[in-house]
Symmetry: C2
């Protein structure tokens, strides 16, 4: 149900600049940006999970609505369409919290959401977003695509995601998607934080049984869990009281144990780095559109790329062995930039150079002004 | 609330023979036997799950009540105490279905239930069973203990359980319990049916990605699941629509694929057999009370020991390498015999030879009469 338009707003509409909306949503939070067609950031808002598999379509749609309201859009009520709400004062960026209403019609909405590679959730979510932004053009991709585009901004490259889960992904010029991994915690996610944490618990249990060598991980895990005995972790893990995020965060103490000389921890990390390199190699071998490149930039995303230099050396070493053409170059800080790229590309068809420059700057944490000095965007991944 | 006793029954009570009750309960069903102190089977009943972890204490207590009623005991109502209900006609075995009421006070109840190694469930279940059988002596152990005792009937030996999960277990003469494995599907159960099935799915996904060699398992899994594409299994597995039992049952087609020459399937099975042998070795190394034995009988339990000769050769070969003192000898057909052993031992203190003979016969599927010919109890495990 749309609110009746007042004559004045209707009459003034053609003068107002259109807006584009970009959304990045995962298991823990949703981030939404409102930009003008030149790539200037006008507003941003944040809300809870919009993972289509775990949270579901209705929760995800509510998170998008909430984040949009905080970014400066307005809805008439729960489930109703979102609209710009009156002329923005110059310089207003619609800060989180809901001040600074935006003006102008929403022309494009691009969303990169976890779980959006699976039907029927994707179809239902697209319909919900079309209802929230009537008249705008909606694009929905999965969060891996958003992270990759945040790193490459349309250039050639490959995503290596290593957070709670793991995945490698490349996009071809005709939209081809080549993926390896990402099969979830029960059947895949090799080399991810969850995988490393789970292997650490397994190694401590095997040591407890006498099936595996003694390891300092036993002490590490007792301390991390605040338990007398590592076997006391088994119940809480199976009941979900120690969830996958908690297990994934064990990766850091595992790295510390390896740094302190624990050979069991070191082997787990070597195996993990090898698994990540294998993901990259599998995508390189299958992505024909990357074949002409002498070196392929690897966009690194996920918490595992914050684990310090010893882990970084392991990943670099494994990549040198398994996939020597790969160059670990960019760490994605802000995947919502990938959704912004998608939204602006849909608006323009082909992106003007100055818009790409602004996205580059936004990626560095700027407000969409001038591009950072050449090379400044190439973060060391570890 | 006890029903009022009628004078005739009260007066006749001291003349009646006492009864012992044995219960074996797991994830899918509960089996209950009523025996006389000489080990003759008087009644048996079956009901649903009494896994204390998965089903919970109340569901388990209801399953025990139901199975007891079907075995020939009677309760006044839900949650009320169970009692023998009038003189049994001679030869009555209280067949499933609830005919043939039993006579005599219940002196001992022994239960071997999945999840009974964990408090507080075990304590609460013990209290519930004491309420169901007022005045009787209650013993509660976990299902592994029941399966081991069903195989050894108190003699020396070691249990190797390989069904949906995996576990090795030995019991010392002073009640010491030495265990390896059994850490559940997320952290352990190496070499189990679930483990084999999950490794098969992982191998097919790795082949799909180009991370692993092509394998006939891809076709095997497509056919087992009735799907066009093995990646379509990922969602149903994570959502539990393809449950752990289903995954464990993939072990059989994996064996068939290995028999047909698939090297990926063969490697999974070799690894599984190696993991099972490692469980046995770990228990042998830690169980000091088994050290004097030149050879140690290994009681085999669980569905994996029905997978045919090629799988049997793999297990035997791995045991010969890892644990040469182990002799795979008995396959437990009927773990409730272990609970019956426990109940009768508690009744007698030490079991008379003729009672052990009757339990031997019950293990062969007899009705508690004469012992089978020497050696007849030593089933080929595969």
């Amino acid at each position: 149900m749309r609110r009746p338009e007042v004559g004045g707003r209707e009459a003034g509409r053609e003068a107002r600049r259109p807006l584009v909306v970009a959304v990045d949503g995962g298991g823990s939070r949703t981030r939404l940006w409102v930009l003008d067609p030149e790539g200037r950031l006008l507003g941003r808002g944040e809300a809870g999970s919009s993972n289509l598999t775990a949270a579901g379509v209705e929760v995800a749609a509510r998170a998008v609505t909430e984040a949009a309201e905080r970014a400066g859009l307005r809805s008439a009520g729960p489930g109703e369409s979102l609209e710009p709400a009156g002329p923005a004062s110059p310089g207003t960026t619609g800060a989180r919290g809901g001040t600074g209403w935006l003006d102008g019609p929403v022309a494009v909405v691009a969303l990169a959401l976890a779980g959006a590679d699976r039907e029927p959730e994707a179809g239902r979510m697209r319909a919900r977003v079309e209802g929230l932004f009537p008249g705008s053009s909606v694009e929905l991709v999965h969060d891996g695509v958003g992270a990759l585009l945040a790193g490459t901004l349309g250039g050639p490259g490959l995503l290596l995601l290593a957070g709670t889960g793991s995945l490698a992904l490349a996009l071809g010029p005709e939209g081809q998607e080549v993926r390896a991994g990402g099969w979830g915690y029960l059947l895949g996610d090799e080399g991810s934080g969850y995988w490393i944490g789970r292997e650490a618990i397994r190694a401590a249990l095997r040591a407890h049984d006498g099936r595996g060598p003694a390891t300092g991980l036993t002490t590490v895990l007792r301390e991390a869990a605040g338990l007398e005995d590592v076997t006391a972790l088994v119940g809480p893990v199976h009941r979900g009281e120690r969830d996958r995020g908690w297990i994934a965060r064990l990766a850091r103490p595992v790295v510390e144990a390896a740094d302190a000389g624990d050979t069991v921890a070191a082997r787990i990390l070597d195996d993990a780095a090898g698994e990540l390199a294998l993901l990259v190699r599998a995508v390189l071998e299958r992505a024909a559109f990357l074949a002409p490149l002498e070196t392929v930039p690897v966009v690194a995303a996920g918490g595992l790329f914050r684990l310090g230099p010893s882990w970084g050396r392991r990943v670099a070493g494994a990549l040198a062995r398994e996939a020597p053409r790969a160059r670990l170059a960019e760490r994605v800080q802000d995947p919502v930039v990938g959704a912004a790229y998608l939204a602006l590309r849909r608006f323009h068809g082909e992106l003007p150079e100055e818009v790409i420059e602004r996205l580059h700057t936004l990626r560095q944490g700027g407000q969409g002004g001038r591009r950072a000095p050449a090379g400044g965007g190439l973060l060391q991944p570890v």
